[in-house]
């Protein structure tokens, strides 16, 4: 047995979240230093601790690096079109309100191309949990500017510096009606997992912004290129202000080292979730009903 093989032998002990990952999809496509892995990990842990059966969890993603998250999670999962994860997930959540539907996607996907769906789903308080991985740029396509790119930062489409102000996503979510709003970073995995768990309890539209490094797309162009550069920034500059009364001024500027980055569970006000008016008996299709459907399907010649 070679030394490498011997080492592998040791590593195979298994991990508590193994059952929540699609092993046959690994290795993943993400770059070294990417923050999406820890988010997937926190989500997977939360599913296991949620007290809800895995089969009741659904994961929906849009397009981009973060959009690939759904592909690694071992629940019913959907990798949809760019920006449309939220209305797609709305269809699932409204059709079957017993499911816990989580949308994991990126800042560009959810708030640029998908911005309209985002604000209306929040306004309606649709029973969806949104985990928005904010890496300040479009990573998959190679580091273009996003609505979250800090003013002055360099991206492949802002070679002379970004002249636009950046979206404060948590402020946006609160303003448009989310029931729960939090901002954490992938340095704060315990708090992030607790926040995700909380959103799984709350019925209604919840929003968690997760600050995440993108050394390849964003870091290299902005003096944050080492795998640890942004993790250090999260460690050194983050301040926690749970329940912050004013999140408007708490804009994240990852490139300005003089400014703190404020994190926390900003809002937790559960209210009646969205549901269309239904007066008649609702069509219900849990596993038992599906079994019945299969039975009629194969017993009934007319439908063969």
């Amino acid at each position: 047995m070679s030394a490498v093989a011997a080492q592998k032998e040791k590593v195979v002990a298994g991990h508590p979240i193994d059952q929540m990952l699609r092993h046959d999809r690994l290795p993943h496509i993400l770059c070294p230093g990417c923050g999406i892995g820890p988010v997937v990990h926190c989500y997977a842990e939360s599913i296991l601790e949620s007290g809800r059966h895995e089969d009741e969890h659904v994961c929906v993603s849009g397009i981009g690096c973060s959009g690939r998250a759904a592909g690694y999670i071992n629940v019913d999962s959907y990798h949809t079109t760019h920006g449309r994860a939220i209305p797609f997930a709305l269809g699932i959540a409204v059709q079957n309100p017993e499911l816990v539907v989580t949308v994991i996607s990126g800042d560009g996907d959810l708030t640029a191309i998908g911005g309209n769906h985002f604000i209306h789903a929040a306004r309606r308080n649709v029973d969806l949990n949104i985990i928005c991985i904010n890496n300040f740029n479009y990573g998959m396509t190679g580091g273009q500017a996003a609505p979250t790119t800090p003013t002055g930062a360099t991206a492949s489409t802002t070679p002379y510096g970004n002249t636009e102000p950046a979206f404060n996503l948590s402020y946006l979510a609160r303003a448009v009606g989310a029931s729960f709003v939090a901002r954490w970073s992938i340095f704060h995995v315990r708090q992030l997992k607790e926040a995700i768990l909380r959103t799984m309890e709350i019925r209604g539209f919840t929003f968690i912004e997760v600050l995440s490094p993108c050394p390849t797309g964003f870091g290299r162009a902005n003096k944050l290129s080492r795998g640890l550069s942004m993790m250090e920034a999260f460690r050194d500059r983050c301040q926690v202000e749970n329940g912050a009364p004013q999140i408007g001024p708490l804009t994240v500027d990852i490139t300005d080292t003089s400014k703190p980055i404020v994190l926390g569970n900003f809002l937790d006000e559960e209210r009646e979730p969205y549901g269309p008016v239904v007066m008649g008996p609702v069509t219900k299709r849990g596993p038992a009903e599906w079994a019945a459907v299969r039975k009629t399907r194969y017993d009934d010649e007319r439908h063969a």
């Binding site: 089969d55 209305p87 299969r294």
Partner: protein, 392 residues
């Protein structure tokens, strides 16, 4: 019917409004959707399809279905795909500008093989065009509107009664072939009020989706492994099979497989599952075809003028015949070839309220002269206009 309910309470009103009605085309679509067990409607107001949404907003909640007015047509289309994947029968209704916005997710539905019904009530176009007036110029968009190659099914009703029957068939075809199905109405049919006979609920056939034949966990379920008919079985969110769906090129497990052989076989199957099943899917109506020397080919409301013109031509001793396309996609080309083989036809006439979209399809299958009678939209083509060309 295999709809389970979680409540002993009966619906406030029946899903199937059995009886003889004097009914608007748009309303006939809504009533048919209810009769076909529609679970979820996601839509956005747009003339001239809005009456479908309005009728369903009133009726669907009373039979236990869900009506959602979305923020735009991008969201409408995405929401019905989600609802279908969660096990519901789902539809939307729109018109040209909204249809254009839906194209992105129509491609997703084709790629993910999700059964959905999309009603497009065609108005005069392009762009905003004549919003309240008729057109038939979205028919090629229905076939080719989203990027890439894929197969779809599209029906074209010529009367409110047919709006009812074809909507039921659209739901069944969508579930049977795991494909987006279009009901391509034109404004004249949508806003036409006529006799509509709605049969008893027991006479409304529901075709179920193919599903896994083993319970979850017994063996790996492959949601993209087709049967002999090229249609794969389907499992839904919450059913327990831990499915993965993606718009990326995917293998039989549904996992992204970004390589040429997988792409080649997947895309060819998406096209072939409609192409090779076309004989089972396609529908048309014929009138005096066997000895016809002049064949009029039409669809939608234009068929009413065409029928009248052919009838009148026969009265004048001209051997005219009429082929009315009920499915415009798949295009019934084999039937047209057979009509040509009979040896009598000397020319085809294709009246349509666009500048020659379906005429191209007829030209594709024959070297005989194909004459178009066209209007850019906003008005019906009259029987006299057609008769004049028949008589030439």
């Amino acid at each position: 019917m295999t709809t389970e309910t979680d409540s002993a309470a009966p619906p406030l009103e029946p899903r199937v409004d059995t009886g003889t009605h004097f009914m608007l085309g748009d309303h006939a679509v809504a009533e048919a959707a209810l009769a076909a067990d529609l679970d979820f409607f996601g839509g956005y107001p747009i003339t001239p399809s809005t009456e479908i949404a309005e009728r369903l907003a009133h009726r669907l909640p009373r039979v236990g279905g869900k009506f959602v007015q979305m923020e735009d047509e991008l969201g409408s289309m995405a929401s019905i795909i989600g609802a279908s994947l969660a096990g519901g029968r789902a539809m939307t209704a729109t018109s040209g500008p909204g249809f254009s916005l839906m194209m992105e997710n129509i491609g997703l539905a084709a790629m993910m093989e999700v059964p959905v019904v999309v009603v497009d009530v065609m108005r005069a176009s392009p762009s905003t065009g004549l919003p309240t007036m008729l057109g038939q110029a979205d028919v090629l968009q229905a076939r080719w509107g989203s990027h890439g190659d894929y197969g779809i099914i599209a029906y074209s009703p010529a009367s409110p009664q047919e709006c009812f029957s074809l909507t039921i068939m659209a739901f069944n075809a969508a579930d049977r072939y795991r494909v987006p199905v279009f009901l391509m109405m034109d404004e004249a049919v949508a806003h036409m009020t006529e006799r509509v006979v709605i049969p008893p609920a027991s006479e409304i056939v529901r075709v179920e989706r193919k599903g896994p034949d083993k319970p979850p966990g017994e063996e790996r379920f492959l949601p993209f492994k087709p049967g002999e008919d090229l249609v794969p079985p389907m499992a839904h969110a919450g059913e327990g099979y831990k499915v993965h769906f993606t718009g990326l090129t995917h293998d039989e497990r549904g996992y992204p497989a970004l390589n040429v052989p997988t792409h080649e076989s997947l895309v060819r199957r998406l096209v072939d599952k409609i192409r090779l099943n076309a004989d089972k899917i396609k529908m048309y109506n014929e009138y005096l075809v066997n000895d016809a020397e002049v064949m009029v080919v039409s669809f939608g409301s234009t068929s009413r003028s065409a029928f009248s013109a052919v009838h009148e031509a026969r009265a004048r001793g001209i051997k005219a015949g009429h082929l009315r396309l009920i499915t415009i996609w798949p295009f019934p080309e084999s039937r047209i070839r057979r009509i040509i083989k009979m040896g009598n036809v000397k020319k085809f006439i294709v009246p349509e309220i666009n500048l020659g979209q379906m005429r191209r399809e007829v030209e594709r299958v024959t070297s005989l002269p194909v004459i178009g009678i066209n209007s850019a939209g906003g008005r019906m083509i009259t029987p006299d206009e057609i008769l004049e060309v028949i008589a030439k």
